[in-house]
């Protein structure tokens, strides 16, 4: 059993990292899409960033060096990560408070686990002093999940879009947070968590000294890590792609660039569509040049 827990503890973060990396690799290998940005874009300069302006507001923009506020592109996502500001501002179903609780439960859980790791690696005594983070994480997580389950069950406009697997995901999170809460409900629980992590780093977990609920909580956490890249939980990391690589990707092509190379290759892809106006076996370039084409039939 100890060995299994050790293997799981080592494998989970590796699978998480590899899973996310693999997903990102797959997405990055997808064809370069046509530009499809949406404004406001946070790397625009000055007021443009606020009102949604672009370099195309200038005359002869191609002759000017594009100015960018790169930092903006990397600070903007924190509004969503830390505050879910779009959900707060636009969601009409009152899910923001529950979603915030759940997301902060998750952020604090990662923080707590990080503190446990630092505590073990550097042999510090900080974890017990910061155990309030664990309590906060578990309580917020439980409240958030319960709130979201109730919202999804009772709000018709959410309910009809929710599949059993979505409830399973939420229940899984509830198990994760509630097991954590039960494990730290008394002072011994926090100590057990510290001991468990220290045991992992020393290569020996003493199961006899741990309660079942603590073991179970850590097992749930590891499973959660493994599950992230292969489930709806990947909606967090994928935002890097949807925003930075699509909706905020407003840079025009440059001669000799990697983008140009890709576009040249992609124009030679076979179209493959069967519509009456399409030369199915020909390339995109051949089809585009075929401006005098009348219907095939």
């Amino acid at each position: 059993m100890e060995s299994l827990l050790m293997i799981l503890a080592i494998a989970a973060p590796i699978i998480l990292i590899l899973g996310i990396a693999l997903n990102f690799y797959k997405i990055s290998k997808m064809p370069l899409n046509v530009r499809w940005e949406i404004y406001p874009i946070p790397h625009e300069i000055g007021e443009k960033r606020k009102y949604g302006g672009s370099y195309m507001e200038e005359l002869n923009w191609l002759e000017k060096k594009p100015e960018r506020y790169t930092l903006g592109e990397y600070t903007e996502p924190f509004k969503e990560i830390l505050y879910l500001h779009k959900v707060k501002k636009f969601n009409p179903y009152g899910i923001w408070i529950w979603s915030m609780a759940l997301h902060w439960g998750i952020w604090l859980l990662f923080l707590w686990m990080g503190i446990l790791i630092i505590n073990s690696v550097f042999n510090l005594e900080v974890a017990s002093k910061l155990s309030v983070l664990a309590y906060l994480s578990y309580i917020l997580g439980c409240i958030g999940v319960l709130g979201l389950i109730i919202k999804r069950v009772t709000t018709h406009n959410l309910k009809i879009y929710t599949s059993p697997i979505d409830y399973v995901n939420l229940i899984f999170l509830l198990l994760l947070f509630s097991s954590g809460l039960f494990s730290v409900i008394n002072e011994i629980g926090v100590k057990e968590s510290i001991n468990y992590m220290e045991g992992l780093f020393k290569g020996s977990i003493y199961l006899d000294e741990l309660s079942s609920i603590t073991i179970l909580h850590f097992v749930f956490f590891k499973l959660f890590l493994i599950y992230i890249p292969f489930s709806k939980f990947f909606h967090g990391p994928v935002k890097y792609m949807t925003y930075h690589k699509i909706l905020w990707d407003d840079m025009y092509q440059v001669k000799g660039s990697e983008e140009e190379k890709k576009i040249s290759e992609q124009l030679n892809y076979r179209v493959g569509w069967a519509g009456p106006h399409i030369l199915s076996d020909k390339s995109w370039l051949d089809n585009a040049k075929n401006t005098n084409l009348h219907d095939k039939v």
Binding site: I27, M30, P31, N33, V34, R35, W36, E37, I38, Y39, K48, Y51, G52, G53, S54, Y55, M56, E57, L59, N60, E80, F90, P92, I95, S99, L158, I160, Y161, T162, S163, P164, I165, D166, H235, V238, T242, K245, I246, L247, D250, Y252, Q253, V254, K255, G256, I263, Q266, Y269, R270, G272, W273, G275, P276, H277, W284, N287, A288, K289, N292, L293
Partner: protein, 534 residues
């Protein structure tokens, strides 16, 4: 609607009905109590009105054999949307939007059509996307094939479903406001466009006005209006004469002038519906001595590209031809006239349709709006803001603001040429609401689709305009909605007619260049408000 899979109901009857009392209220401005639209009874047997009682597709119902083929082709089409080669243009954003939605429905209130309809479920931006996601899961993923409804793969593809999805693809104006609202960056507007693309590129199904009388006609005769090159030259002559009559100026509009700095590309519809708008450009450019030309080559005088709304192959064909014409003329720059989708196609989308080393790519492509602002700012033409002394608001074209970030110059222009009478709609700029006529809605005239457009799709913008002018509505003076897009102007024209806004409130519309020229002091006022209503 009880369940999403109700969309596959085996019935010819509409799955929802739209009644006046359900719609977003236009009270106290408009009284619609006595207006009820009734679909001719025989249409329910003859055509397919099974989505919402409306249709833009005058196809007769197919035989059972044909229905099977349509279902099979539809599934093939999904496969091709998910093929990186067949769909390289949009594969990545489509795939990510299909896969990673968390179904929080934050996008709902972004949609003018959903709100205008009184929040009918089928118009929610995420509704059609979720149907497609469930079909994709059911037929193309292992988890969906095994676990079915447990993972949401609970929708069977039937002819009724496919037919309703065809309609539903044309219940979204592709304004992509929903994408702006999404906390995950999911683009439900794109999914609607991908559905349109699937129907066109695999099944050859698209509204007559965008396909047969749209891109096909454009490529075959030179313009989606049906205008041939010789007719174009006649129109130019007529416009020159008209300018002379109205202003006393003898202006020769440059056509096919080799080596000009600029080729100006107007929406072809302007020549026939709003020739004054073309005249306004000619007057302004002539006044400041811009070295430009129009093209009389087939396609060269019609800058629309309806492919942007439904078909990547047609998009590429029309666009490529436009660039070839500009290249043959040897111009340095292609300037896009006041046409929203054309702006986006040539400045944004076409950035990656050709490699940067192509001579065609190297023709600079810009909006006319910054150029107009430079003209106004420079003082090269003398303008009297008091000529525009009437309440003015500005309707943003989604393509120009949200989808390419040109927001400020048009406002600077209006502020400079009006005496403080400009008022913003709320919301505006990148957060504007679509006029309701985008993505082909303004030109689709088949069956009872125009009733849907006028009553549902134009509704929120109608309310927004009336709210904006609420303090001056009953004053006996013209109120002008300025728009820099032909489609938007078409929608405003329909709106003014449908709701009697001109007769009741003297609300009218115009292009931006028209407003500038109206302020030019060396010619008589350009607007004639008594003639503008049509």
């Amino acid at each position: 609607m009880e369940k999403l899979k109700d969309i596959a109901k085996e019935t010819n009857q509409p799955i929802i009905t739209i009644n006046n009392e359900d719609l977003l209220s236009l009270s106290p401005y408009i009284d619609e109590k006595d207006e009820t639209y009734k679909t001719p009874d025989d249409w329910f047997d003859k055509y397919d009105l099974s989505l919402d009682g409306f249709s833009g597709f005058p196809f007769l119902n197919p035989s059972e054999e044909e229905k099977k083929e349509i279902v099979s082709k539809f599934l093939n089409g999904i496969k091709k949307l998910l093929n990186p080669q067949s769909n390289w243009t949009f594969y990545k954003p489509f795939y990510l939007s299909l896969k990673h939605c968390v179904k929080c429905n934050t996008c709902a209130e972004a949609c003018h059509l959903y709100i205008g309809s009184g929040k009918k479920e089928i118009y929610r931006p995420n509704f059609r996307s979720e149907i497609l996601r469930r079909i994709h899961k059911r037929y193309f993923t292992t988890s969906g094939k095994i676990l079915k409804s447990f993972v949401g793969a609970d929708i069977e593809v039937t002819y009724h479903l496919v037919r309703r999805l065809l309609e539903l693809a044309y219940r979204c104006t592709l304004c992509r406001r929903c994408a702006l609202y999404c906390p995950v960056g999911i683009d439900n507007g794109l999914i609607a466009r991908e559905l349109r693309k699937l129907f066109s590129q695999e099944l050859g199904m698209a509204p007559v006005e965008v396909y047969k009388k749209g891109t096909r006609l454009h490529l075959q005769v030179g313009s989606s209006t049906g205008m041939k090159p010789h007719a174009f030259r006649e129109v130019i002559k007529f416009i020159e004469e008209d300018i002379h009559e109205k202003t006393g100026k003898k202006i020769s509009i440059p056509v096919d002038k080799k080596g000009a700095d600029i080729m100006l590309l107007h929406n072809g519809g302007e020549y026939l519906s709003w020739p004054d708008h073309i005249a306004a450009f000619a007057i302004l450019f002539d006044a400041v001595g811009i070295n430009y030309t129009l093209s009389s080559e087939a396609l060269g005088y019609d800058g629309v590209n309806y492919g942007a709304w439904y078909d990547d192959v047609e998009l590429a064909r029309v666009g490529l031809r436009h660039l070839q014409i500009a290249h043959e003329l040897g111009v340095k720059k292609l300037v896009i006239g006041e046409c929203g989708h054309s702006h986006k196609v040539y400045t944004v989308i076409f950035d990656r349709i050709l490699p940067a080393s192509s001579p065609l790519w190297n023709i600079k492509r810009e909006s006319c709006i910054p150029l107009m602002w430079e003209i106004v700012k420079s003082g090269a033409v003398k303008l009297d803001p008091m000529r525009n002394n009437f309440p003015i608001t500005f309707h943003d074209s989604c393509n120009i603001v949200r989808l390419m970030g040109i927001v400020s110059p048009q406002r600077k222009i209006i502020n400079a040429i009006s005496p403080g009478t400009f008022r913003e709609m709320k919301p505006n700029g990148a957060y504007n609401y679509c006029c309701g006529g985008g993505s082909g809605f303004a030109i689709i005239r088949s069956l009872n689709f125009p009733v849907f457009r006028n009553k549902v799709s134009l509704r929120l913008k109608t309310k927004q305009i009336l709210d904006t002018f609420s303090d001056v509505l009953n004053q006996d003076k013209p109120k002008v909605v300025v728009a820099t897009c032909s489609n938007c102007k078409g929608a405003l024209r329909d709106m003014i007619k449908t709701y009697g806004l001109f007769d009741k409130y003297k609300i009218n519309y115009s292009g931006l260049v028209d407003l500038i020229v109206n302020a030019m002091v060396d010619i008589p006022p350009f607007f004639n408000f008594e003639e503008m209503e049509e």
